[in-house]
Amino acid sequence: MPENLLEVSGLTYHQPNGSKALDDISFFLGRNENLILLGPNGSGKTTLLLHLNGTLNGSGNIRVEGLEVTSRNLPEIRRKVGIVFQDADEQLFMPTVLEDAMFGPLNLGLSPAEAEAAADRALADVGIGKDLLRRPPFQLSQGEKRRVALAGVLAMRPKLLLLDEPTTSLDPPGQKSLVSLLRTLPQSKVIATHDIHFAAQLGSRAIFLDRGRLLADGSLSEIVQRYKWNPYD
């Protein structure tokens, strides 16, 4: 069993227009560890996350549980790595909540009955009631949509969970229930966020990106202080 869940070394990525979005990024993530991804807008946080599940393909080396992220390994990689994007609407593209949560398991080869069971379990885990199962996504609140999107990924039982600005558009109760939900999940998580208080609830380790370069890797509180990343301090 490889020691680290995630190993990134020398990751560099150029945008189609030539500009460098990621510049020689390297870091490790151990099992049962959460990592907070900090940095200004446009620093490459989302770009980095998209590399971790193979959506983008830069140069350098990324290994998930020892398996290298290459085009051949993509199906395996995507079983291990689940990503939840910032905009929940863009992830809920099936007609009903249940069908959306079943989408992933069905693609993994489960039978419809097994997929439904997995989806049911995941939706229950994220606190989505049975009455919402047959609803179309546009009827849900932002918080509910975010949870359904999360369930859709959890139903595939990934080892590593990537979350891109998960508190966007969430009201305080929504944020609170998201925090308590995420704390119960066993997966390791990489969370890109601007919300320091939210981050502090979920992890103590952070990396700081700026213009594609990794400037710091260490304790969350120390990095926040160093880069003055708390807006109200």
Binding site: P75, R78, G82, F85, E90, M94, P95, M102, V153
Partner: protein
């Protein structure tokens, strides 16, 4: 907006809702074709059709008045052509066409108000309609309301800064549409990434149907009998 109303109505649980969508489509076809083949329906025939539709509305526990209000929306355009016929001397046909067109529209309304569109699309799969067409239809329906909400927002913003109509306003409207396009284009690529992230293989899972019940057969037989009987009245 209509979609939210329809979404609520179509997720009801009357026996009409529970009918197999394939049966509902076939019944609708029987009704509409039977009506179309009667060139000059008598008041009795029209009354029979109206009563049947009313019965379905009540059995489906749909709000009759609201349905009636929505059905009237189709009348103005139909009415225009009926007037054309009337003015060209063919009063009998004008009335016939007006009545038949209204009833046809009402029957379609009743079916769509009591069946989620996704189930109708699933029935389309069963009847061997082209897959790409059905998948695109589903996605359009899913995202139409999201995009039109954005469009509405932009139009409101536009109106509050609008000048006189003319070439500049046309350019401004076009710019607005271009921004809407850009957001839609990006949304499409995000949706695609979300699909890939959940191991999308290129084919959507085939929709499933629970078996046909006695009630389905009864409705089917009833529709055929009604269609045939309509011509005997």
């Amino acid at each position: 907006m209509r979609h939210t109303t329809f979404a609520q109505w179509s997720s009801g649980d009357s026996f009409v809702h529970a009918l197999d969508p394939r049966v509902k489509l076939v019944s609708l076809a029987c009704f509409v074709v039977a009506l179309a083949l009667v060139p000059y329906p008598s008041p009795i025939q029209l009354g029979a059709c109206l009563l049947l539709l009313l019965a379905v509305v009540l059995l489906a526990r749909l709000p009759a008045l609201h349905i009636f209000q929505i059905s009237l929306l189709s009348v103005p355009f139909v009415g225009f052509f009926a007037i054309v016929l009337y003015l060209s001397g063919d009063a009998q046909r004008a009335w016939a066409v007006l009545a038949k067109s209204y009833l046809s529209a009402l029957s379609v309304l009743v079916v769509t108000a009591s069946t989620p569109l996704a189930r109708l699309v699933a029935a389309g799969h069963y009847f061997r309609m082209p897959e790409l067409l059905l998948q695109v239809t589903q996605l359009i329906y899913r995202y139409f309301f999201v995009v039109s909400r954005q469009a509405h927002g932009m139009q409101t913003a536009f109106r509050s800064r609008a000048g006189r109509p003319g070439i500049r306003a046309l350019h401004a409207s076009s710019g607005m549409i271009a921004v809407l396009f850009g957001r839609s284009y990006n949304k499409a690529s995000m949706v695609h990434q979300a699909m890939l992230g959940r191991c999308f293989s290129g084919r959507f899972p085939a929709p499933s149907f629970s078996g046909l019940h006695l009630l389905d057969f009864a409705v089917l037989a009833g529709s055929v009998l009604f269609a045939w009987g309509l011509h005997l009245i």
